[in-house]
């Protein structure tokens, strides 16, 4: 049975049944951990609901949240829900991101989503005012410092009570100028159907404890590491990604201390934890309570699981805890789940078979093999098909594009019916991911689209290319950005190849390095993505397609082949 309800009624139910129960244990660096009860959370949320109402925000309107990973963010999110508005969480401005690029991102977000209000922190208010276009949709900017909790929420009077299960409850964006044009709009019922189905797949139980450091502006953090535990009434231990990346051992200590059972991590985090934690930070740490550490949101690697298990087995990590999932915001979150009732299936196949024949078959004599981690079986409410370019079904083990259909799909890309229509084929969502099916399980091998995934974050190459094109001396438009897998890090790194203007002279005493340094600086400040390699090449180096477009994959191959030659010679 699918429970049809709304976020509002679930929040009211949680508040009325056990208000003193801990909802979130916050772990902030430099502060003692701070338990937040359901009552604290909902009273603070009701404060935001009152502030939004006072600001004239109407139910059904979008509210953008630009807040640090904190109590205020959680309260503002649920506050928007209590008022019946549609929250959307944006990453906040980091110190290295250039304000003008951030302003441009916000502008493109505002143009598409037409938010009625923005909630932010006082230090960001001035910056934000500059980004809000005059005469635009934004009528109000609320500061987190000026919102006080409400002593006793009056549920019937709150406008969120009017929302229906089929209404849109939240928007979720991926990053960059391109990502911000595509707000995934999800309904209450889609989220609850996902939670019901996914909860069964991972055997979610009242004694579970979720431990997470994932950002809430991404589907894995928002759904698995925030909404699922909160709406299911399961305790959540939450630290910020900013703190975790500087002290990865805190994840292990938190699991040990709070007897954590479930954690979701992008693939690179398995390598990162295995490589960057000192023994002294693991003294007394016991990870035996972890029943599932779920690899999700970027291509998964067998070697990353091995590294992680070998590093932490002496601290009680169970091998059976290693798990996998294939997920996307368009399906709310999970499409598949593997590694819960039995170990993740490892499919050893021929590399040549996959790359040349496009079939995941056993290796013949002398062929290189590769180990594929299974993403597991589709959730009970999700159907998966693998199709060829003509959208015809492919046999088992043949590589093609993954399509899916479920009862928990997005309502649409918010105010972008054109994109929504393009994303579906006869009611099936085209994921753009390449993969195959074997024995009822899904394997993802790559992507059809030129998307780069760095540390679990989706990066659109065109955004980086346009930033690099702005560098004086670089020929505009003659730039490609692509990802290259780094085995040590367990994730992709971004490479940019840019053609120098034929006429451009290098500054006195400087070579291509001066231009490549400038590209690095611009791209990082414009996108928050650090580039691993930048190659400045002479005019004419980049390969074009017959229609004159620069082909990313062909240039990626040329770049890698050239590097191999250099390295060999």
């Amino acid at each position: 049975m699918t429970p049809v309800t709304t976020f509002f009624s679930r929040l009211q139910h949680l508040y009325e049944t056990d208000p003193e129960r801990t909802a979130i244990i916050w772990m902030h660096a430099r502060e003692p951990e701070h338990p937040m009860t359901r009552r604290d959370l909902i009273r603070q949320a009701a404060g935001y609901a009152a502030a939004l109402a006072a600001a004239g925000v109407r139910p059904g309107e979008v509210v953008i949240l630009i807040l640090q990973h904190s109590e205020s963010l959680a309260a503002a999110f649920f506050g928007a829900v209590l008022h019946g508005a549609i929250p959307s969480i944006m990453p906040f401005l980091t110190e290295k991101l250039a304000p003008d690029s951030y302003r441009r991102s916000l502008k493109s977000l505002f143009e598409v989503t037409h938010p009625a209000a923005v909630v932010t922190y006082p230090e960001f208010a001035a910056e934000l005012q500059d980004a809000i276009p005059a005469g635009g949709s934004v009528r109000s900017v609320l500061l987190s410092s000026e919102v006080a909790p409400v002593p006793e929420p009056d549920f019937p009077a709150l406008r969120g009570s009017e929302r229906l299960p089929g209404d849109v409850v939240l928007l979720q964006h991926s990053s960059g100028t391109t990502g911000l044009q595509k707000g995934v709009a999800l309904s209450h019922e889609a989220v609850f159907r996902q939670l019901a189905s996914y909860g069964k797949a991972i055997r979610l139980a009242p004694d579970d404890v979720v431990v997470s450091w994932l950002p809430l502006y991404h589907d894995m953090g928002l759904i698995a590491g925030f909404l699922m535990p909160l709406l299911s009434g399961i305790p959540l231990v939450l630290m910020s990604p900013f703190d975790w990346v500087r002290a990865p051992y805190k994840l292990m200590q938190a699991v040990s201390q709070h007897r954590g059972t479930l954690t979701w991590l992008p693939n690179f985090a398995f390598n990162f934890c295995a490589q960057k934690i000192r023994d002294r930070n693991l003294e007394g740490v016991d990870l035996a309570s972890w029943r599932a550490v779920i690899n999700c949101s970027e291509p998964m690697h067998y070697q990353s699981h091995r590294l992680f298990y070998e590093r932490f087995r002496a601290h009680g990590l169970r091998e059976s805890a290693l798990a996998t999932s294939y997920a996307m915001a368009e399906n709310v979150f999970a499409v598949t789940q593997g590694g819960i009732d039995r170990a993740v299936t490892v499919d050893t196949i021929s590399q040549r078979g996959l790359l040349i024949d496009r079939v995941a078959r056993a290796a013949a004599d002398g062929e290189e093999t590769m180990r594929m981690l299974s993403c597991g079986a589709p959730l009970p409410n999700v159907e998966v098909r693998v199709v060829d370019d003509a959208r015809g079904d492919l046999p088992e083990r043949h590589l093609g594009e993954v399509m899916l259909r479920s009862d928990c799909m997005l309502t649409g890309y918010y105010r972008r019916d054109d994109l929504t229509e393009k994303a579906f084929h006869n009611g099936w969502y085209l994921t753009g991911d390449l993969g195959y099916m074997a024995d009822g399980e899904v394997y993802i091998t790559g992507r059809k689209k030129d998307l780069i995934i760095v540390g679990g974050k989706n990066v659109y190459p065109q955004d980086l290319e346009s930033l690099a094109s702005e560098v004086p001396g670089i020929h505009p438009g003659r730039v490609v950005a692509f990802g290259v897998y780094n085995e040590e890090m367990g994730t992709e790194e971004v490479v940019i190849v840019a053609e120098k203007d034929a006429e451009a002279e290098y500054p006195a005493g400087a070579g291509p390095e001066a231009l490549s340094n400038e590209i690095r600086a611009r791209v990082t400040r414009g996108s928050d993505i650090a580039l691993r390699q930048v190659a400045v090449v002479e005019r004419g180096w980049l390969l074009k397609t017959s229609s004159g477009k620069i082909a990313r994959s062909a240039n990626r191959d040329k770049f890698l082949a050239g590097k191999a030659v250099t390295a060999g010679g």
Partner: protein
């Protein structure tokens, strides 16, 4: 002695973090706020400093307010040796 610290850290940043061994790091060049060293490599830098100079950098110090240049990082290392 001080030049030695800066030279070693510079070599580590250029060679291991940036993978550009020939690149020179200016002592006053912004490292963190410029994004030259991304957040994924801050832990590497602190592990390197501890292993090489025996100086502990707390994880709450791994930000541009504590040190944003080679000169500032070298000063922290010297003050704790």
């Amino acid at each position: 002695m001080s030049d030695d610290i800066e030279a070693k850290v510079s070599e580590y940043i250029a060679g291991t973090i940036l993978k550009q061994p020939d690149r020179a790091i200016d002592p006053q060049e912004k490292l963190i706020s410029s994004g030259l060293i991304d957040s994924f490599h801050l832990v590497d830098l602190s592990l390197y400093v501890e292993d090489t100079f025996g100086v502990h950098l707390d994880d709450t110090e791994l930000n541009a307010e504590s040190f944003d240049t080679l000169a500032a990082l070298a000063a922290i290392i010297r003050s704790r040796q």
